[in-house]
């Protein structure tokens, strides 16, 4: 009988012998396991990994675009994939006001790095609520809003969704078709079931308003509805104010719960207030809603992961109970949020001059994008590219849903080294006056040569 068989018999004598043998024979670390084999029922059979059956996950479709772009050696390559702002020179931008705030923080030697409270930086929370709801919002004045700092838009959505899955009576969320690729995963992992409502109309490249109303009308009472506050991602198609009013009435009449994703406030039209109108309209009617805010784009703080979740409640005591439950979601996820980005935001928002400067820089970014839209539209018209391209200037925000199909997109990548997500979404922020002609050529070629 060899020592393995000795061991597997598992009698205590055998084990003692086996252990003795190990101690006598194993003087070097590498042989110390020669005598030991885990029993047959062990999850890690033969010392292998318990995760050996795992397969590699597919690349994230959006972040994978940048990976592919980086690999391309072509000098004319263009990255119109991920929605991160670029200057006319194609460079990432750190706002002046952000640099200023950063310098202030570094120079302040009294600053420490202690844990923030679970709900984050108090100043930041108050100022964020004011930013989205309006400084004179009755909901704020009546203490009916609970705001917690979260990790950008993603984190705010996830925390809000986890809260809903635990405390709300309806576990279904309706998301627009299409929507940001990460939305379904966020809600599913949070424990909600995801359904969709019609949103984009490929024939008009605009809003399928009829379809939207019908689908939400047939949703069960109380269901949650995800709404992009402005600059819908990926289509750039937003409801008009009149349409928003109709949507509001429909949601309220069916007691559907609105969950706003506000990732582009100020970035869409150039005005912070204009871009918050949809949210404020809902809050003004006295009803409840959730809002996820991100400072990734409008303050250029992408990698700092700064955002906030606000839950507008009917009464102040409800708001405080809700906050206590939000903490229970956050604590086992990451304990408390990161301090740096929120400190930058709070510094800017509370200083009148810095706030002013910020609005100017924000408008400049929004204006550059609007100008890129116009230039691209003009370039396509000049080339006589077949089709109606007016949606490029009708759509709003960082993205244009070109309407190009999978084959056309693949063609543009292969022949013109233009990188975009396969749904035909292009980030206007990645364009410049210099590169618009190249893109227009590529679109023209794709439309005329690829079905």
């Amino acid at each position: 009988m060899n020592s393995d068989q000795l061991f597997n018999n598992s009698s205590s004598t055998d084990r003692r012998l086996s252990i003795l043998t190990k101690h006598i024979l194993a003087s070097s670390s590498s042989s110390s396991l020669a005598m030991v084999s885990p029993s047959p029922t062990s999850a890690s059979s033969g010392g292998g990994s318990v995760f050996s059956n795992l397969v590699q996950a597919p690349e994230d479709p959006i972040l994978g675009v940048t990976i592919a772009y980086n690999k391309d050696p072509s000098p004319v390559k263009l990255n119109l994939g991920v929605g991160a702002y670029r200057t006319e020179e194609g460079k990432p931008l750190v706002l002046n006001v952000v640099r200023q705030a950063e310098q202030q923080l570094v120079n302040d030697s009294s600053r420490v790095k202690e844990y923030l409270p679970i709900v984050g930086l108090a100043d930041f929370n108050k100022l964020s609520a004011k930013l989205i709801l309006g400084a004179d919002s009755p909901a704020i004045q009546e203490n009916r809003v609970t705001t917690v700092q979260c990790l950008s838009g993603t984190g705010s959505l996830r925390v809000g969704a986890e809260f809903l899955a635990r405390h709300y009576h309806e576990r279904t969320i309706y998301i627009p078709l299409p929507t940001w690729g990460n939305h379904p995963k966020v809600f599913t992992l949070a424990g909600l079931s995801v359904k969709s409502f019609r949103y984009y109309d490929p024939t008009t490249r605009g809003l399928n308003f009829q379809g939207l109303l019908e689908d939400l009308q047939s949703a069960p009472s109380g269901a949650i509805v995800l709404l992009h506050a402005c600059a819908h991602n990926p289509t750039g198609v937003d409801p008009t104010p009149q349409q928003w009013e109709q949507i509001r009435q429909l949601l309220r009449s069916k007691a559907l719960l609105p969950f706003f994703d506000s990732a582009y406030q100020g970035f869409a039209s150039g005005s912070l207030d204009t871009d918050a109108q949809s949210v404020r309209m809902f809050v003004a009617d006295g009803g409840e809603c959730l809002v996820a805010q991100s400072y990734a784009k409008n303050m250029g703080l992408y990698g700092e992961r700064v955002g906030a979740l606000s839950i507008v409640c009917r009464a102040a005591d409800v708001a405080s109970r809700v906050e206590s439950q939000l903490k229970l979601v956050i604590r086992p996820m990451y304990s408390n949020p990161p301090i740096h980005g929120a400190s930058i935001v709070a510094t800017i928002l509370k200083d009148r001059n810095m706030f002013q400067d910020w609005t100017l820089e924000l408008k400049a970014m929004a204006d550059r994008i609007i100008s890129m839209r116009q230039q691209l539209f003009d370039a396509l018209c000049a080339r006589g590219t077949p089709g109606d391209w007016s949606h490029i200037i009708r759509q709003i925000g960082m993205f244009t849903f070109t309407g190009l199909n999978l084959d056309q997109v693949a063609f543009m990548t292969k022949e013109y080294h233009i990188y975009m997500t396969s749904d035909g979404r292009i980030s206007m922020a990645g364009l410049s006056s210099r590169t618009v002609p190249h893109l227009a050529d590529a679109i023209h070629a794709a439309v005329t040569r690829v079905a």
Binding site: P38, S49, S152, F282, S320
Partner: protein
């Protein structure tokens, strides 16, 4: 006043169209949640107006003046970072440079596992975030598994695995009578657990007890784990902070690695680099080969993406700036030792003070235990008296954060402890 309006044959309360002023909140049935037992202590402390109040609650380092500390190496790193780089998104797995340096700390500068690219690792939101992503990963890929957690442990461990929907079991750890390790019961629990169970182990400076297995004991534990095919998950939140020497503090992990275990590990820079609020950490999983490590990493990222997309950049830059610069790294090691030594000094001082006061109880455990915390053995009632009568704040399990003890308050603290225990 609700007007009734008849619209296309249906009666709709006017109130509903206005957002339902007459309707009640959806959250009427939301109960107020219990305060976090640890973080709630600091809240209470801050609210106390007494000048002689003492906070030995939350585990955040304080200098001998009771002030929070930002390490010199961190200040210098921040000066270098500010104004230089952009703030673009990190990849989902975080800063590769930071992760690389962090793995060296846990696994060794010259680790073969690192050379062979067998470790799947991502930047995580400090220790909490690393544990949570691992717990979610465990649930997804070993859905029938459960986690064995020591008694006692950091309270949030239970919350983390519960929210990940992984069933929990406990194993014996702390021995109240000796205020040390209940090694025999612990080994029994390890042997009696079904083969292939997942265990959560504190790599060093056990929180809240400060009681760590000896090197010999770690070897026996590792051996038994091999016998049973158990999965060891290490939570290492205090590397460098326990003994003052990061290499020494990683001994338990190195023993397991020598024995060939494929471990999981959560690392945090909250305490040892004083980066608490920056939320910087790392989750790593040792795999059989590079291909498997690539697959595991991709799956870890799939869990991070719907939680926060990608991790915060600032803290990671601080870490990689420090660890990537030999001089800054040397400075850091020095500063970590200073913090650890101060705590060891305070342990000695507290024990000596209690003994000088003529306490009949044994206070050996104060200097036997290691790391930031001392499990004093005080009962919840005694803790309440400390708070109410002496304005000393700690968690009700009797855990004292030694980092909050100073030469200025150690006498006061000893006196108070003596007062509430002398009739015991």
């Amino acid at each position: 006043m609700a007007l009734r309006t008849i619209i296309s044959g249906r009666v709709i309360r006017f109130g509903a169209v206005l957002g339902g002023r007459s309707m009640s909140s959806w959250w009427g049935n939301v109960e107020p949640a219990a305060k976090d037992p640890i973080l709630g202590v600091t809240e209470a402390f801050l609210a106390d107006p007494r000048p002689n109040k003492v906070n030995v609650g939350v585990g955040a380092y304080r200098d001998d003046n009771g002030k929070p500390v930002v390490l010199e190496c961190v200040r210098e790193a921040e000066r270098r970072i500010a104004g230089n780089l952009n703030m673009e998104y990190l990849p989902m797995g975080g800063s590769a440079k930071m992760v690389e340096e962090t793995l060296k700390l846990a696994y060794g500068e010259n680790s073969d596992l690192i050379k062979d690219k067998r470790i799947a690792a991502i930047q995580a939101l400090s220790g909490t975030g690393a544990c949570r992503i691992f717990a979610d990963f465990q649930k997804r890929f070993c859905p029938d598994s459960q986690i064995y957690i020591p008694v006692p442990t950091w309270a949030n461990h239970h919350n983390i695995w519960r929210d990940a929907h992984v069933p929990q079991r406990t194993f014996h750890y702390y021995h109240p009578e000796s205020k040390g390790l209940d090694f025999a019961s612990m080994m029994d629990d390890i042997k009696n657990a079904p083969n292939g169970s997942f265990f959560m182990l504190h790599a060093c400076a056990h929180n809240p007890t400060g009681v760590d297995p000896s090197e010999e004991q770690w070897r026996e534990i590792s051996y038994q784990f091999k016998v049973k095919g158990h999965f060891p998950f290490f939570d290492m939140a205090y590397q460098g902070f326990a003994s003052g020497d990061p290499e020494k503090d990683a001994k338990s992990i190195r023993i397991f690695l020598e024995d060939g275990h494929l471990i999981g590990c959560a690392q945090s820079y909250a305490k040892n680099m004083g980066l608490y609020g920056q939320r910087v950490g790392c989750l790593s999983v040792v795999c059989e080969d590079e291909m498997q490590a690539v697959a595991v990493k991709s799956q870890l990222q799939q869990l991070a993406r719907p939680m926060y997309s990608n991790p915060p950049i600032h803290g990671a830059l601080i870490v990689s700036t420090i660890l990537g610069d030999p001089d800054l790294k040397k400075l850091w090691l020095k500063e970590v030792k200073v913090m650890a030594d101060r705590i060891i000094g305070m342990r000695t001082a507290l024990r000596e003070n209690l003994e000088k006061l003529g306490s009949s109880l044994s206070w050996e455990h104060i200097t036997n235990q290691i790391g930031m915390f001392c499990y004093s053995g005080l009962t919840p009632e005694q803790v309440d008296r400390l708070t109410d009568e002496f304005h000393i704040y700690m968690t009700r399990n009797g855990r004292i954060s030694m980092a909050g003890v100073t030469t200025g308050n150690v006498g006061y603290l000893a006196n108070a402890i003596h007062e509430v225990t002398k009739s015991a």
